[in-house]
Symmetry: C2
Subunit: 322 residues, 2 copies
């Protein structure tokens, strides 16, 4: 900027004014400055600007896995909103590891992001307290923060969706409905189990429930075990997209009625096509980002906790009779 100033024969501050489109510069002077800028290939040093202004025009996004379709869709929506507000997106994957989540969040804060959107992996977010008090707003998505943190949170109607799925299978005559869910330490998995259990009422049988990490072998073993029971399940409710796919592979043609939580690409092209409880990751990302930018523009109202609706998309696999 100094070089531009001397090249244009003006003071540094005048260049700053031109670069920022501030008023009070004579058009002829401004043109001379612009010419010098082009000639020298100058571009403003954003780090210095950030240091001086205190705002980075950056938001941090911590999700479980940047490569997962659900979170990738969420991330894309966040990016769109951030771009519309002139902000850039820093993103990182926690890999479902609380320590990594914390590290990412604190790194983002050290870089003075203006705000955070977090899909938490852990249950303790006391480490965020100082940052929140220092004025960096955070919005939680998909899962709530740990106790004691009163921040905006966007959740899907997990229990409602699970109940919807379960009632759908009940309505088609099933009374033995198995549930495969992710690790119950994960909020969404627990809520979905809850919805399933509530909808089943007295039909609930813990032998038909398996929860754990969705890798092929354990899922296959669990299914085999359930199907070997005296009164085996005639229907299956899978608690997330990855489990649905894993279960489809493990079933290998055995015809169970099936409803899966989360829609996925090609669900309609399988035979039978897969009935799902669909959430809208893009909407979740958008709502979370909009909440964040509302805070950034000064809203200090009470924390918002929107619950996004889910919907059942019947495609065939859930309509199979026992």
């Amino acid at each position: 900027m100094k070089d531009v100033a001397s090249a244009a024969g003006v003071a540094l501050k005048t260049v700053s004014r031109v670069v920022n489109g501030e008023p009070g510069v004579h058009p002829a002077t401004a043109n001379r400055v612009r010419a010098a800028i082009d000639r020298l290939g100058y571009s403003r040093n954003e780090s210095a600007r950030v240091l001086r202004r205190g705002r980075t025009a950056t938001v941090g996004l911590v999700i479980e896995d940047v490569g997962d379709p659900f979170y990738a869709g969420l991330g894309r929506a966040v990016e769109t909103v951030a771009t519309a507000h002139g902000h850039l997106l820093l993103s990182g994957s926690s890999s479902e590891d609380p320590a990594r989540e914390r590290e990412l969040v604190l790194t983002f804060c050290a870089r003075r992001v203006d705000g955070l959107i977090v899909v938490p992996a852990g249950r303790d977010h006391s480490y965020l307290r100082p940052e929140l008090d220092a004025g960096t707003p955070a919005v939680f998505a998909d899962r709530p923060p740990g106790p004691g943190l009163d921040v905006d949170t966007v959740l899907a109607d997990n229990a409602g969706g699970a109940a919807l799925a379960t009632r759908h299978l009940l309505a088609h005559g099933h009374t033995r409905i198995a549930f495969l869910g992710d690790d119950p330490a994960i909020f969404t998995a627990a809520r979905r189990l809850h919805g399933y259990r509530t909808a089943l009422g007295s039909l609930y049988d813990e032998r038909l429930v398996w929860m754990g990490t969705p890798s092929p072998e354990p899922v296959r073993a669990a299914l085999d075990h359930m199907l070997a029971l005296d009164r085996p399940p005639t229907a299956l409710f899978t608690g997330n997209g990855r489990l649905t796919v894993t279960a489809l592979r493990a079933l290998a043609g055995r015809r169970l009625a099936l409803v899966g939580f989360d829609d996925f690409e090609l669900s309609d092209l399988l035979r039978p096509a897969v009935t799902v409880i669909a959430q809208d990751p893009a909407r979740m990302g958008r709502v979370a980002a909009e909440l964040l930018f509302r805070r950034l523009s000064g809203d200090t109202g009470p924390a918002q906790n929107p619950i996004l609706p889910v919907s059942l998309i019947p495609r065939g696999s859930g309509e199979i009779s026992p």
Copy 2:
């Protein structure tokens, strides 16, 4: 830092030394400083550090769409490598728009990213010249830079893969093999067309080729048109993952032999299961990131241009006889 210094009863510089683990601080003093840091909840201001040191420990990633499975996988791999080198990732989606690509790249540069990884949307990258000259290395992935730019570039063997797919169908007795490809302005689409055409030789018939944006209606119309020809195609080669899926929907059960470029989740669960030419997006991201960090650690050798292999995964759809 100033506050920490006075709280610990030392000079600012000593705090700096402790924070950075520099030698020459008495252990007792260091402990006092660390206690003060904890007490005050101090965290280093990264913006100021960046301003002073000139390095941001940040890399920029410009891809077509953060939400696309292929690019999401690539992005995840880049993130992993960047993290291993202690760098953070700024990412943005170009949406296949050259102007947006340019804007993102220049924004990243204004923020002084240490390096760039770009999946280009446009064919003219002269705007990168000043940044490269200024010492910001860039690596192109999936598609090469425009003319005149001699930078590291990681490509897949697009033509080879397309030829592999075509020969596979030829080997199963097909002589009428249709090709659906993306807009030929896209490098990968053009290369795949080239491979297909070369492998077909004299069997090439331009009436069996359609290229355009992979939205459902045009694809369906093109397929209907081809299948109504005197000598309709008995096999189909689709030029990318999205086109494969779109074509599967458009075919709606009509039994054509099919090979698709790009593997996709559930390709093995469809009936018939889909034979594909698989590339490895994670590997592409990893290789690109490693090239970038090699440059960042001072390598000034000639530009590298690795071509990543692709492989044919036979699953059934490509083995259907005419």
